[in-house]
Each structure stands twice: as structure tokens, then as C-alpha cells.
């Protein structure tokens, strides 16, 4: 260990010996109590809830991912069921009907060249 390094360590140690006077720490505790009271009055119930949820999530460790994935799954499922269904026709998509469409009778025009009305057309005319 060289002389400079030793001196550096002594200088750093000296920094650790410098502390504020006792009065400071007496006032510090009083200030802490005052701030705690102010903090409690200011905080809304919502922010307290959010903070506690944050602490709870942080302290759950690895299991928070499982809980998170579960919560996301539940949200997706709830979202699918809760999604309004009546707006499909508004976008121009008609729902599919299962009813059979009415059958129309086809009428063939009679040939003007003197054929009878009830005579079937010749195969070559198709």
C-alpha cells in the first residue's frame, strides 16, 4: 500500500467522523413527526391505495408475474364478454340469415316465330 493511498483512506475516514451536532438530530425527529402529520392529511385515499399496491407488488417477488398474467387473462376475458355486440350492422355487415330464400318461378318468353307458349325450348337455345 503506497503512502498516497494510505493518506486517501485517512481522509475518507475523517469524513465519516464529521457529524452534525446533537441539536440537529433532536430537531430532525420533531420535523419527522410534523411531516408525518402533514403527509397523512394531504394524501388522498387513492394515492395511499396505489402506494400500498406498489409495495405489495414489489414484495411479492417472482410470483407477481404469475399474478400479473392471471390478471391480464381475466381482463381480456371480461373485455371479450363485455364488448357491445349490437354495432355490427352499423358498420354495414348484415348478420347471416338461416332462412331459405323464396323460390321464384322462371318464365320463358315464347318465341315470336310462332311457337306455342307451353312448348319447352330446344336444347340448342341454351
Amino acid at each position: 500500500m503506497n503512502k498516497e493511498f494510505q493518506e486517501l483512506q485517512e481522509l475518507l475516514e475523517e469524513r465519516g467522523q464529521g457529524v452534525p451536532a446533537d441539536e440537529y438530530f433532536e430537531g430532525f425527529l420533531s420535523d419527522f413527526h410534523r411531516r408525518q402529520r402533514q403527509d397523512l392529511m394531504k394524501r388522498s385515499a387513492r394515492s395511499l391505495l396505489l402506494e400500498r399496491m406498489g409495495v405489495w407488488l414489489r414484495e411479492m417477488g417472482g410470483s407477481k408475474w404469475a399474478y400479473g398474467a392471471g390478471a391480464a387473462y381475466v381482463l381480456v376475458i371480461v373485455g371479450l364478454f363485455a364488448w357491445p355486440r349490437g354495432n355490427a350492422s352499423k358498420e354495414g355487415i348484415e348478420p347471416v340469415s338461416l332462412e331459405v330464400p323464396e323460390q321464384k318461378v322462371l318464365h320463358f318468353e315464347a318465341e315470336r316465330s310462332g311457337k306455342k307458349e307451353n312448348e319447352p325450348p330446344k336444347a340448342t337455345e341454351f
Binding site: G16, Q17, F25, D39
Partner: protein, 195 residues
Amino acid sequence: MAVKANDPDQELVRRAQEGDTQAFDDLVIKYSRKLYGLVYNMTSNKEDTHDLLQEIFAKAYRSLRHFRGKSTFYTWIYSIATNMTLNFLKKRGRRRGLSLDDVDSGIQNDTSFVDQGHRANPRRQSNIHELQKRLNEALQALSEDHRAVVTMFDIQGMPHAEISKILGVSEGTVRSRLYYAHKQLQGHLEDFWKR
């Protein structure tokens, strides 16, 4: 609740968790001096140190009922203090860079501080202010992570193992950060020593 069996604060923590505010006050009194040293040596600013320390104890108070005793209370509250101070320094750095307004000239120049260190050594007393001023500048030039290990190891005398638990890094990382930080600090003070 399962507070670590060899935790000297076990009883105070248990009482504080049950809502005894006097027990928490006792913990504040016990740790405010040590934590002040940690935060002040990292921020170099008295007002910031005071506010941060208040926030650290407020956070510890709110989180105490979730403290499971996997580590000692000492390690737990040091982790809170270190993380909050590192976050504060990162925010301060982003906000305005490091300006002279942010940094005090050093504990040794502050009349409200009781320094028992260099009075016994009159030879060094003439140089001590200049050296400490330079050391202060050198410490501010370190990254926040390096300053944290120097503060905990060299200034507060904590063992490598404790620092590694608090910072959540390996002991090897603590040692390498210390090595690099010492080199940087020596480099800053070199020209003063060569005079």
C-alpha cells in the same frame, strides 16, 4: 412476522410493526446519524440530505409492516436509503447537471459539524481544508454507483459483504468498483501530493 433471529433491532421492529410509534422513533434516533453520513457523503448538500432522510424514514415507516425479516433491519433501511439517494442523484443529474449550488464545500468546512478527526494532527491541519476540498470534488466526479461504495466502505467502514447485500450486487462487483474509484480519487489528488 419472522424477523431475523440475530437482528439486534428485532424487538423494536416487532413493536413498531404492531403500531408502537415510540419504537419507530427509537429506530429513527438509532439510525439517523449513520444514514445522515451515507446520504450527505453521496449528495454533498445539507438541504437535500435533510429532505431525503425525512423521505427515507417516511418510506420505511409506511413499508415496515411488509418487512419480513429476510435481512436485518439495518440492511433493509440502508437499502432503502441507498436506492432513494441513487434515484435522487440520477434525477438531479438529469434535471440540471451538477452545479455549484448543489454541492456544499464539504463537511469539514461546516461549523455545525463536529469533526473529531484532524484536531490531534496539527501538521496536517494546514493542508486539510484544501485536501478535503479536492477530495470533495473528486468524489463528485465519481459515478453515483462508485460514490456509493466508497461512502459505505471507506467513509462508513462497512464490510464488503454488507455492501453487496445492500446494493444487491456480488462482492466481486463491490471490490472492483472500489478499486476503480480509488484509482480515480488518487488521480484527482495526485498533483496536490506532488507539490
